[in-house]
């Protein structure tokens, strides 16, 4: 089983543009965990094979079991019989579904996801073109939200029950109810377009650009300026989630005996909080961060749409609007595979972080 897993996942690397995105995911998980337990990692990777197969099958079936003729679906209602015939020929649509699935999967395993007729581009190329943007967005959002949530969560737990704690909690509850696309609109309004005037005074500034993407390599400062608002739109809601989780876990950690012992030894509060209580309180937080990373691997469709970032969310949305079935199929497969792989990587990181889980 392990050998099959290595072959299948290794096959992604045969195609250079795809390789590095998956490499990041895999290397983090594998490196961190081989330190812990090598054969366990292989077993887990092997377990992914059936999962990925079923995901591929679902993806394929969803597109191909649609009502109506697929060729007509691709071309639109006004298709000439001749064009339909051509498409059928080109995509082998006259073959039985299962044999087409076999062909598609065989190609997909080696990184060939077919060719988009609308974009005149290989789907794999389109995905590797857009994936980095989504990864950057995900990364910045996570950095911001973790950077804000940990101090807030620790502080709220330390001051549990006080006015500070209640204020932080109320704000967090409000942010939870603020959909990220509304947050994005608000941020654009108040930080890019100069805000609104309240009784004659202008509330808001024009510090940041409202949309568009600037590549990391083109202009570093401009890149971060353009990415700040989209990253914040994603991050602020997550801060609320992370902070609440950390606070709850931290409060129960602080009631444990070893904290009392540390206190009895005369250790300072800040040392107790940061060095003793934080790490055992962070496991639920890690799980949820992992889930969020897994979700955002697939791009933040609506945020990318608002800020016109050329990420995978924009790619897949364009494909949906254009009824570009081949592209949707490929993108959904890659996004789901990315999600599953990220969850595995996080899971393996756990074993590296918490020795107790290694032999469980």
């Amino acid at each position: 089983m392990a050998a099959i897993a290595v072959i299948v996942i290794g096959a992604w690397f045969l195609r250079p543009p795809m390789s590095w995105t998956f490499a990041i995911l895999l290397v983090t998980g594998v490196v961190a965990s081989t330190i812990a337990n090598g054969s366990y990692v292989l077993r887990r990777l092997a377990g992914l094979v059936p999962v990925l197969m079923i995901i591929a099958f679902f993806t394929f079936i969803i597109i191909n079991a649609l009502p109506g003729d697929l060729a007509v679906n691709i071309l639109g209602p006004g298709a000439t019989p001749q064009a339909v015939e051509e498409i059928n020929e080109e995509l082998n649509l006259n073959d039985p579904v299962m044999s087409r699935f076999g062909d598609w999967l065989g190609d997909a395993v080696t990184g060939d996801l077919g060719r988009s007729r609308i974009l005149q581009e290989d789907v794999a190329d389109g995905i590797s073109r857009t994936f980095p943007v989504s990864l950057q967005l995900m990364l910045y959002a996570q950095i911001i939200s973790i950077g804000l949530a940990i101090p807030l969560g620790v502080w709220a737990a330390y001051r549990a029950g006080t006015r500070v704690d209640r204020a932080i909690n109320t704000a967090a509850f409000g942010f939870l109810a603020l959909p990220n696309f509304i947050l994005a609109v608000l941020l654009v309004l108040f930080f890019a377009l100069g805000g609104i005037s309240v009784f004659g005074t202008q509330v808001g500034v024009e510090w940041l650009p409202a949309a568009r993407y600037v590549a990391f390599g083109d202009d570093l400062v401009l890149h971060f300026k353009h990415m700040l608002l989209p990253a914040l739109s994603l991050a602020l809601g997550q801060v609320a989630v992370y902070m609440r989780l950390l606070r709850t876990d931290m409060i129960s950690t602080l009631q444990q005996n070893f904290i009392d012992l540390a206190r009895a030894k005369g250790m300072s509060d800040s040392r107790i909080l940061w060095r003793h209580a934080l790490r055992p309180s962070s496991f639920t937080l890690l799980t949820v961060i992992g889930l969020n990373i897994g979700t955002l691997i697939g791009g933040a469709l609506i945020i990318e749409f608002i800020f016109t970032l050329p990420g995978i969310g924009t790619y897949v949305f364009g494909a949906i609007i254009a009824r570009d079935f081949i592209a949707i199929q490929g993108a959904v497969l890659v996004i789901s595979a990315g999600y599953v792989l990220t969850l595995l990587a996080v899971d393996l990181l756990y074993t590296a972080l918490d020795p107790r889980l290694r032999h469980a």
């Binding site: 999962v51 679902f58 993806t59 969803i62 649609l66 009502p67 679906n73 509850f173 409000g174 939870l176 109810a177 603020l178 959909p179 990220n180 696309f181 509304i182 609109v185 608000l186 654009v188 309004l189 377009l193 100069g194 609104i196 809601g237 989630v241 989780l245 709850t248 876990d249 129960s252 950690t253 009631q255 496991f283 639920t284 799980t287 949820v288 992992g290 889930l291 969020n292 979700t295 697939g298 933040a300 469709l301 609506i302 749409f305 608002i306 897949v316 949305f317 949906i320 609007i321 009824r323 949707i328 959904v332 996004i335 789901s336 999600y339 599953v340 969850l343 899971d347 756990y350 918490d354």
Partner: protein, 312 residues
């Protein structure tokens, strides 16, 4: 579903899939006091309930209320701010934003409401069976649920909506069905874990010893205990689905114009943010308050029924 599904997507968060956090016993006394304090619902709870009732009733009876026609364009009033006659002001072509917001609630509240009911019905059934029988049935159901969660929910929703209803003739129906189907998996997951917590309790064992059939135990002994959990989560789920529906509307794929939807109104107003920000801000504010109220009522009910997070 996530972001938000949120989330956004649709994005509710679940804990405990991997390393279980160490469970710590909270000091009994403090817990008891806390529970007593939590037993009260509070003023804000009723304010939130009142707001939700207002939204639902206004959406239901929008046709009979003295509202302006949501499609009527008032000449010379485009981009005007709020006045006594037009409470939320007018949009870029002069339509009444207040009346459009109320009519927009129809789509959001009913699509999300019915989708939640679909999700709750099938999700509870799956969760009940999986959590009660455990063993192989549980393994199969749980892994299919996990598989479904691997798919990007918003992408899948958009794709299905476009496939089944490209022209937008029947968007309301397909939107509801799609969102309902997509919420089955996460609901099943929550119901399962709380069913597990109950199916080893003494009263269930007692029923089993008395010779009750599985079906009877599931529906007469376990289900009534799980219903409060389902109820409080269903409100939070509805909040997620309201957001998802608005997100889809924001992307221009909810019920097509001339029917007003919150997402579409917010999206259209984006072009007018400079100078006439109220076009976006009023529907956005109502959406925010609706989600806030749903979350708050759901949370309070959960505390009221004393659903402890550690169980889930």
């Amino acid at each position: 579903m996530t972001d938000q599904a949120e989330r956004h997507a649709p994005s509710t968060t679940y804990s405990g899939t991997m390393g279980e956090p160490a469970i710590v016993e909270v000091e009994e006394e403090a817990a008891d006091e806390g529970r007593k304090a939590k037993r009260k619902l509070g003023t804000f709870f009723w304010v939130a309930v009142g707001f939700l009732a207002f939204i639902v009733l206004a959406a239901l009876f929008a046709d009979f209320l003295p509202l302006k026609d949501p499609g009527e364009t008032f000449r010379g009033r485009s981009r005007e701010g709020p006045t006594g006659e037009f409470w939320f002001g007018n949009d870029n072509i002069g339509q009444d934003i207040f009346s459009r917001t109320i009519y927009g609630a129809r789509v959001s509240v009913f699509v999300a409401g019915i989708a939640t009911i679909i999700g709750i019905f099938f999700g509870s059934l799956i969760g009940l069976v999986a959590g009660y029988f455990r063993g192989r049935i549980d393994a199969i159901l749980t892994s299919s649920v996990d598989l479904l969660l691997a798919f990007p929910a918003l992408v899948l929703a958009l794709a299905l909506i476009i496939f089944f209803d490209n022209e937008g003739d029947n968007r309301r129906f397909w939107l509801t069905v799609t969102l309902g189907l997509l919420s089955i998996a996460p609901i099943a997951r929550i119901v399962r874990s709380s069913v597990i917590a109950y199916s080893d309790r003494e009263f269930v064992q007692a029923a089993r010893v008395l010779g009750a059939r599985d079906g009877r135990i599931m529906f007469k002994e376990v289900l009534p205990n799980v219903i409060p959990v389902i109820l409080s989560y269903s409100l939070v789920f509805m909040a997620v689905l309201v957001v998802v529906e608005s997100a889809i509307g924001f992307l221009g794929l909810s019920v097509p114009p001339p029917t007003p939807t919150w997402g579409d109104m917010i999206s259209k107003g984006r072009n007018e943010l400079e100078g006439a920000a109220h076009i976006s801000l009023f529907p956005a504010g109502v959406l925010f308050l609706t989600v806030l109220a749903l979350n708050y009522v759901g949370d309070k009910l959960r505390e009221f029924f004393d659903v402890r997070e550690s169980v889930i």
